[in-house]
Symmetry: C2
Subunit: 123 residues, 2 copies
C-alpha cells in the first residue's frame, strides 16, 4: 500500500510522519510557500494560513495510524486515523499535489462534526 | 491516477460509477453481504445497513467528480467531490478492502457537519 517508488508519495509520507510526530517545523518544510488547501474550514492560501490550521490540531493530537497510502509522480492520496484529546477517532484523508518535493495543493477531508460537538460541550 | 491493473480499484471504481450514476442496485452488486463500514455515523454491519446509509445520500446527489483513485490487489483508496441538494461541495474518501470482486470493508470519511447544519436550518 505504500508504493515508495512514487515521488509524490515519498513527500506526502515524510510530511505525514513529521506532523504526526509533532514536528511541525519539519512538516512545514514539505509545504510550498504558496500552498492552496481545500479543507472543511474552507480554502487556505499560503504556508502561514496552512500552519495556522495545522498547529492547533497537532497540539491536540495524541496518536495516529496510517490506513492506506498511494501515489504516482505528482499526486499522493493517503488516509489515516488520528486520536485527539477531544475526539478519540478522527480519520482523515489527503490528496496532495507535489512539485519539486513540496506540497503545492491539498484536498483535505475529515469529519469536523465531532470536533464541533466537543467544542460546544466544553463551552 | 486510475491504475486499472489493480483488481481492487476496478471494483471500487465500478462501485463508484454505479452509485454516482444513481444505480443503487448495481452499486450494491459490488458490496459483500457481510460488509463492515466505518463511517461518520458509526459502524455499519451488513449490506442492508449499508444500503440504508447510501440510499438517502444517492437520492440527494446531483453531481460527482473523481479526484483521485489508487489501488493494489486487495485495497483501493479513492477521493471524490460530490454535489448534493443541501451541500454544494461534499468531498468524501473511501478506503475499501475487496475480496472476489466484492467490497468487504470500507472506511468512509466525509465531513458530516455541513449536512447537520443544512438539516438544522431546514427544521
Amino acid at each position: 500500500m505504500t508504493d515508495t517508488t512514487s515521488p509524490a508519495l515519498r513527500t506526502a509520507l515524510a510530511y505525514y510522519q513529521a506532523w504526526t510526530g509533532h514536528e511541525l517545523d519539519k512538516a512545514m518544510s514539505y509545504i510550498a510557500d504558496d500552498i492552496v488547501c481545500d479543507a472543511p474550514v474552507g480554502r487556505l492560501e499560503g504556508a502561514d494560513a496552512y500552519r495556522g490550521f495545522m498547529d492547533p490540531f497537532v497540539q491536540i493530537l495524541t496518536g495516529s495510524k496510517l490506513i492506506a497510502a498511494f501515489g504516482d509522480d505528482t499526486t499522493a492520496l493517503i488516509m489515516y486515523d488520528t486520536e485527539t484529546v477531544p475526539v478519540k477517532s478522527a480519520p482523515g484523508a489527503e490528496c496532495v499535489t507535489v512539485k519539486d518535493g513540496k506540497i503545492t495543493y491539498s484536498r483535505f477531508v475529515f469529519d469536523s462534526a465531532p470536533f464541533d460537538a466537543a467544542r460546544n460541550a466544553a463551552s
